[in-house]
């Protein structure tokens, strides 16, 4: 089975051959729960700098094609960010945004390859040091984010990016 990923910034397309995957299960997992207008509204209502909002919304349209089926990975990432912000309202929004993305990109290489370029400018816009999530002291949040990454992205965890990528 072929997984195809298009880098949103450089438009480079990579094809990766993998063992068979259950497409129906993946489609169910990545079904969008938020209408686009609602998702945009939720991002607009975050108390973070406008530059960070603009960078976050670059994630929205990112998809991964598995066996010819497009999985809306980007929308699911944004939904999860909003979910954690809602779940931990007393934690600084920037810390949650940075932690979700930082942990996701470092744990799932293929998503890190496609979206990792956003991390540096995003951390700058949020006033965070790159890599801060490694020393993030809020253990409960860290565990929860880690759990969500495993639940949603474990299918892609062991997929390496090709050497020429």
């Amino acid at each position: 089975m072929i997984i195809q990923v298009t880098h949103p910034e450089t438009k480079q397309v990579i094809d990766i051959e993998v063992d068979s995957m259950n497409i129906e299960e993946l489609q169910e997992l990545y079904k969008t729960t938020a209408p686009e207008k609602t998702l945009l509204s939720a991002i607009e209502n975050l108390d973070i700098p406008a530059e960070a909002k603009a960078l976050l919304l670059k994630i929205k349209d990112f998809t991964i094609q598995v066996g010819g089926v497009a999985l809306k990975i980007g929308k699911k990432i944004l939904e999860l960010i909003i979910y954690f912000i809602k779940k931990y309202p007393s934690t600084t929004i920037g810390l949650i945004v940075g932690s979700v993305l930082g942990m996701l990109f470092s744990n799932i290489p293929v998503i890190g390859w496609a979206l990792g370029w956003l991390l540096m400018p995003l951390c700058t816009a949020l006033g965070l040091a790159l890599g801060f999530w490694k020393d993030f002291s809020e253990k409960e949040i860290k565990v929860a984010i880690d759990g969500a990454i495993n639940e949603f992205f474990s299918s892609f965890k062991n997929i390496p990016t090709p050497e020429n990528a």
């Binding site: 997992l29 729960t33 938020a34 939720a42 209502n45 975050l46 912000i85 809602k86 309202p89 929004i93």
Partner: protein, 253 residues
């Protein structure tokens, strides 16, 4: 319950008080210089004075409106500042109005001049620093009480005036009509606590707090808006003229 189920529940219930965010941002008319203004507005958040009869109504309406959608806490989580300190809404509103050029930031004036140099184009920022609903609530909290007060000056807020106020907020600013209707209803029933004196006092305090505010321009904008309100039914009643004069007196004092 899986995370996907929780997500469905969360997003099904999210409502925004701004239906047309592009219209709202366009109406703010802050072009590409908004970052500075909104940062200034945010710096005012420690200002503790609230607008008499205004902010509290706006906040309560906001809470109850969202409560009617069973999501008050969930949505307020996106606006942590607002959920802690209601009076902030007005202060931010002032900042935003300043940013629009209404209230006379020097840079806003420059922006307007720049705009007049190029009438062919209006710049609308894609994203703002401050949560959009917080801006919307702040603006409505500032404009609604004085509008209702002026509309009631001839005895009651007539159907035409009422409809025009609703139309103004929904069509011109892109507000959710249901939210504005609720805010107007709540405001109408609480006008006995409104005082032009307190209103003017708060505005002056805000202007004093920030050197960039110019009270004369603030006053002019408010008075112009109120003139529009009292002309909505086609005529200016003596009582309305008197109310306008009272407001002007306090603002000029």
């Amino acid at each position: 319950m899986s995370i996907n189920d929780e997500l469905s529940d969360l997003f099904e219930n999210i409502q925004s008080i701004i239906d047309d965010d592009f219209q709202f941002k366009k109406k703010l008319n802050i072009g590409d210089e908004h970052f500075t203004y909104l940062n200034n507005a945010k710096n005012l958040m420690d200002f503790g004075e609230s607008l008499a009869g205004g902010t509290a109504i706006g906040f309560l309406t906001y809470s109850s409106w969202f409560a009617s959608h069973a999501v008050a806490i969930k949505v307020l989580a996106f606006i942590p500042v607002l959920s802690v300190s209601p009076p902030i809404a007005f202060i931010v509103g002032s900042g935003i109005l300043g940013a629009t050029g209404f209230f006379g930031f020097k840079k806003a004036k420059d922006a307007l001049l720049k705009k007049s140099e190029n009438e062919l184009m209006t710049k609308v920022p894609k994203y703002l620093n401050t949560p959009l609903d917080l801006l919307g609530l702040s603006l409505a909290s500032l404009m609604m009480p004085v509008s209702v007060k002026m509309g009631q000056a001839d005895g009651e807020l007539c159907v035409v005036e009422r409809a025009q106020i609703l139309k103004y907020f929904t069509d011109e600013w892109g507000y959710n009509s249901e939210f504005i209707e609720k805010l107007l209803q709540a405001q109408e029933s609480k006008m006995e606590s409104f005082s032009y004196k307190e209103y003017a006092k708060t505005l002056k305090a805000v202007c004093k707090k920030t050197s960039e505010f110019k009270l004369s321009q603030v006053s002019d904008e408010i008075l112009n808006f109120q003139r529009e309100i009292i002309l909505m039914d086609g005529e200016i009643h003596p009582e309305e003229e008197k109310e306008l004069a009272t407001l002007k007196l306090y603002l000029d004092a």
